[in-house]
């Protein structure tokens, strides 16, 4: 033995690590996908494409798919229109308060659209605040059906939540366009418009496309928002509704496969697109930004603040709802109270769910930290075969929506000791962990890469085993990265929607999000739900702030494709 093993960088310890990881991904990521695909095509032991044909021939199914595609396209389009000018100003100009505005853009992300929707319903209902205001002012004499048809509300809600993601990606794409290429175009006589159309836009297109894919897929697969707006004719809600009879009706599997294929194709395209172009246009990006005139600075501030205020309307409505005692036929509540916060803390459903969420998120975060360190170590410090596979597996959850993972778990593990109907705790933990693992791997990977290998070698040289030198030298040095990654994992796990809604069947296992969803059916439900939403929002905001402190400018990188 020896020679071959050593050439491949395989020690028994590393071999064990990589095997553990492959088994984990195999069981909890790949197998559920295969299982669902198989069930979509093989019914009663026979191969069939019947359910895919039904998607087209059955008008209801076809309509559902069209709705979802339209929803995705609409959200992508509107976020683009909002983000492109914002990003252009940010990436190419210097002005007072730039850092502040940059931070402000991220604020809307601290609220899952699902919770914001609860507040929105209160504000924009037929006799909600906005209509009452307008009626009072005499601007309208009939209440407007803002959320009419349902789709509009969902689009607004998702746009307000997702434009920061689009903004981050477009800004990055613009920043990666070497300004000297633009200068060269100016040099040969290109005007402003043709410069953007012929040079800048084509060069930033790969980066933009990547952002657009994230936004489209997010909107296409979002379960919580349409559910709250009771806009049920979209694919995710259909899948959710088919959960109960999944063993009789394989249509749910077929829809999941459709969704999976679409997301994987789109992400694959984005990735190829990126790798083809990105290297070429990525030069040394220095000193590209020009100062902005005073009026332009003011205009920029007004625009950014305006959009942020719009984006915060759901947040305000949630806060308002949570403290409204009497709110009937008046624009603002006529009486305020803190009783819903008190109810959050002595209502059994809510206290249990907060406890559940804290526990589940903590354990899944711990799992992410351990797995993240392992993977980052194997990727950066060894040359063992299968590294690329591991890398792809760790990043795959970015492309697999939560609803697919959760649905797959229900089907795959039903009747096993992991069955979510008996006790969803293990699967909830694993689902949370798998979903947020990419953030953790990226954070740890960056840390390992920034830490010189010779520091570990020096430790080994004075007698520390490889494992020990990682533990005593590298991990303390990259602790900030790990903490930041961990906080992100934890915060997102706390407000994870689709897996929580799907996997938690019994009330005593409800996480926060499922409890909020459940409360919606009670008369005072929206108020308590909003109070919980505010608490969740505060938690997520604190988490993001701390993570942002620790990670500094690198924060944005975690949300890019």
């Amino acid at each position: 033995m020896g020679t071959n093993m050593r050439a491949l960088d395989l020690s028994p310890g590393r071999l064990a690590m990589i095997l553990c990881l492959l088994v984990f991904f195999g069981v909890f990521l790949i197998y559920p996908l295969i299982y669902m695909t198989a069930n979509a095509f093989i019914v009663n032991g026979k191969f069939t494409t019947e359910f895919f044909r039904l998607m087209i021939t059955d008008p209801t199914q076809w309509n559902t798919i069209l709705n979802s595609v339209n929803l995705g396209l609409a959200v992508t389009l509107v976020t683009t229109i909002i983000s492109l000018p914002m990003a252009a100003v940010m990436a190419r100009h210097e002005f007072r308060g730039k850092a502040l505005l940059n931070g402000l853009v991220l604020v809307p992300m601290v609220l899952p659209p699902f919770v914001g929707a609860v507040g929105m319903r209160q504000m924009f209902a037929r006799f909600g605040s906005v209509n009452l205001w307008l009626l009072d002012l005499g601007l309208i004499d009939q209440p407007i059906d803002w959320l009419g048809g349902g789709m509009l509300g969902v689009v607004i809600m998702e746009v307000l939540h997702l434009y920061p993601i689009m903004f981050l990606n477009v800004t990055a794409a613009l920043a990666n366009v070497d300004p000297s290429l633009e200068e060269a175009a100016r040099g040969v006589g290109a005007g402003r418009v043709s410069l953007f159309r012929r040079i800048t836009f084509p060069l930033m297109l790969p980066g933009y496309f990547a952002g657009a894919v994230i936004v489209f897929i997010w909107a296409f697969t979002d379960l919580g928002t349409p559910l709250v707006f009771e806009y049920r004719q979209v694919v995710p809600v259909q899948i959710f509704d088919m959960l109960s009879d999944v063993h009789e009706n394989p249509m749910g599997y077929a829809l999941v496969v459709l969704m999976l294929v679409m997301t994987l194709v789109f992400f694959g395209l984005a990735r190829n697109f990126m790798s083809g172009h990105a290297m070429m246009s990525r030069g040394h990006v220095t000193g590209a930004s020009s100062p902005l005139s005073r009026p332009a600075t003011i205009a920029t501030h007004v625009a950014f603040l305006g959009i942020t205020i719009l984006a915060l309307i759901p947040h305000f409505s949630v806060i308002l709802t949570s403290i409204a005692d009497r709110w009937y036929m008046t624009p603002l509540p006529s009486l305020y109270t803190s009783k819903y916060y008190a109810m959050v803390f002595d209502h059994e459903l809510t206290t249990t769910s907060i406890r559940n969420s804290l526990g589940l998120s903590a354990i899944s975060t711990a799992l992410d930290v351990v797995i993240g360190i392992w993977i980052a170590y194997l990727l950066t410090r060894t040359r063992i075969p299968g590294r690329q596979v591991l890398d792809s597996l760790a990043m795959l959850p970015l492309a697999v929506p939560g609803i697919i993972i959760a649905f797959g778990y229900v089907g795959t593990f039903s009747g096993t000791f992991l069955d979510a109907r008996n006790n969803p705790v293990p699967l909830l933990i694993i689902a949370y962990a798998v979903r947020r693992l990419p953030y953790m791997v990226r954070a740890a990977y960056a840390g390992f890469q920034q830490t010189s290998v010779s520091l570990e070698e020096a430790a080994q040289n004075v007698g520390a085993s490889p494992a020990r030198s990682i533990r005593r030298i590298t991990i303390p040095l990259i602790f900030a990265n790990l903490v930041a990654g961990g906080i992100l994992c934890f915060s997102f796990a706390m407000l994870e929607v689709s897996d929580s809604l799907i996997l938690a069947f019994e009330q005593r296992y409800y996480p926060i999000t499922k409890a909020i969803y459940n409360l919606m059916t009670r008369p005072d439900g929206p108020f308590i739900a909003s109070a919980m939403g505010v608490i969740g929002m505060a938690l997520l905001m604190a988490g993001l702030l701390i993570a942002g402190r620790v990670l500094g400018r690198r924060m944005g990188e975690l949300f890019r494709a």
């Binding site: 010779s454 070698e457 020096a458 080994q460 040289n461 004075v462 007698g463 520390a464 085993s465 490889p466």
Partner: protein, 354 residues
């Protein structure tokens, strides 16, 4: 004190044989240099000694025990890294104590040994500083102290002075040499700087393309290089192409500059061989008259370089050959002067053509 035996060690990266069946014996207590241009395999060889690489074939012995497959943390070597690799989250004394802790040395002894090691590099007053609060030279000393505190059998130094400025580098040469003398530890020192090697080494191995070209004392390498590469790498030299016309002592070489008599030493040149005569610039004298005892070349000074303690001339001979000449006496010659150059048979070396 540990002796090292490297026995036809092979290590390749992809298709490149970074260390190609190298054999060397390093004696206990020696200050041994691995010298060569970048990419010659010297650092790879050092890392093989530290255990960061394992040889594909061949063996490495520390004294009589085969350590070829011993992992780094069980090798008992102390390494000084090129970038020092001080742990930034530990103070100077914690950097030193870490290895002692790994070796389970009890606390009170630990403190004592850290103190002594820091004293030996004269840094005892900086024990509680963090590495980023130290100057480059101080960091270098900490790295050295960390390598020494475990009292290893072998100390490995990987271009330890390359990150220091010229002045500090000279000071640190003395420092390392002093520590070597005081401790008597076997040291293997990698560098690409031939001045460093010549001034410090007990013996030097000159490497190129994964093989050792020559091993010897600084004197041997400088005065009797084994081939053109070594002659050129160890300081400046003039290489004059020629053919052997008489094989006895002295060897007579016919060149474009005339017939040269060269002491044969151990050269195995036979009549008809194509060879090079290597003559160091400082071995060439500026003379007044032709003498029978010397080889002479007439030429014209084309350029004068003033270097403080000496001058260097670029002399072009009648046949168009260029010679570099260092002159310490009778300075002040100017460009364009005709000059007569002379060197004795012992001042030149015959090297084979390849």
């Amino acid at each position: 004190m540990t002796s090292i035996t490297i026995d036809s060690v092979l290590k390749s990266f992809g298709d490149v044989r970074a260390v190609n069946k190298v054999s060397v014996s390093i004696e206990a207590g020696e200050l041994f240099f691995l010298l060569g241009p970048s990419g010659c395999g010297k650092t790879t060889l050092l890392r093989l000694l530290a255990g960061f690489y394992t040889p594909e074939s061949g063996r490495i012995l520390f004294d009589d025990s085969d350590v070829s497959n011993t992992p780094p943390h069980k090798r008992n070597t102390g390494m000084v890294f090129q970038n020092y690799a001080l742990w930034p989250h530990m103070t100077v004394s914690q950097n030193l104590a870490f290895g002692l802790e790994m070796h389970k040395i009890p606390g009170d002894q630990r403190d004592e040994r850290v103190r002594r090691a820091l004293e030996s590099v004269r840094l005892d007053m900086l024990a509680e500083r963090y590495p980023n609060q130290l100057s480059g030279g101080q960091q270098q000393r900490v790295a050295l102290a960390r390598a020494l505190v475990l009292e290893p059998g072998v100390v490995l130094l990987d271009e330890p002075l390359s990150n220091l400025d010229a002045r500090l580098r000279l000071d640190m040469r003395h420092e390392i040499k002093r520590i070597h003398t005081e401790t008597g530890i076997t040291m293997v020192y990698v560098t690409h700087d031939q001045d460093e090697a010549l001034s410090m080494a007990d013996r030097i191995a000159v490497m190129r393309d994964g093989v050792i070209e020559q091993i010897g004392s600084p004197h041997e390498l400088y005065d009797a290089p084994a081939n053109r590469f070594v002659a050129q790498f160890m300081g400046e030299t003039n290489l004059i192409e020629g053919k052997v016309v008489s094989g006895d002592d002295p060897i007579v070489v016919e060149t474009d500059l005339g017939m040269f008599n060269v002491a044969s030493r151990k050269t195995t040149a036979e009549i008809g061989d194509s060879v090079y005569c290597s003559i160091r610039p400082e071995k060439i004298a500026c003379i007044e008259n032709t003498t029978a005892a010397q080889n002479t070349v007439a030429g014209k000074i084309e350029e004068v370089f003033f270097l403080g303690d000496h001058e260097q001339y670029r002399v072009v001979s009648a046949s168009g050959e260029v010679l570099r000449v260092s002159n310490r006496d009778s300075r002040g010659r100017v460009k364009g002067t005709d000059i007569l150059l002379g060197f004795g048979p012992d001042d030149a070396v015959v090297l084979h053509g390849n």
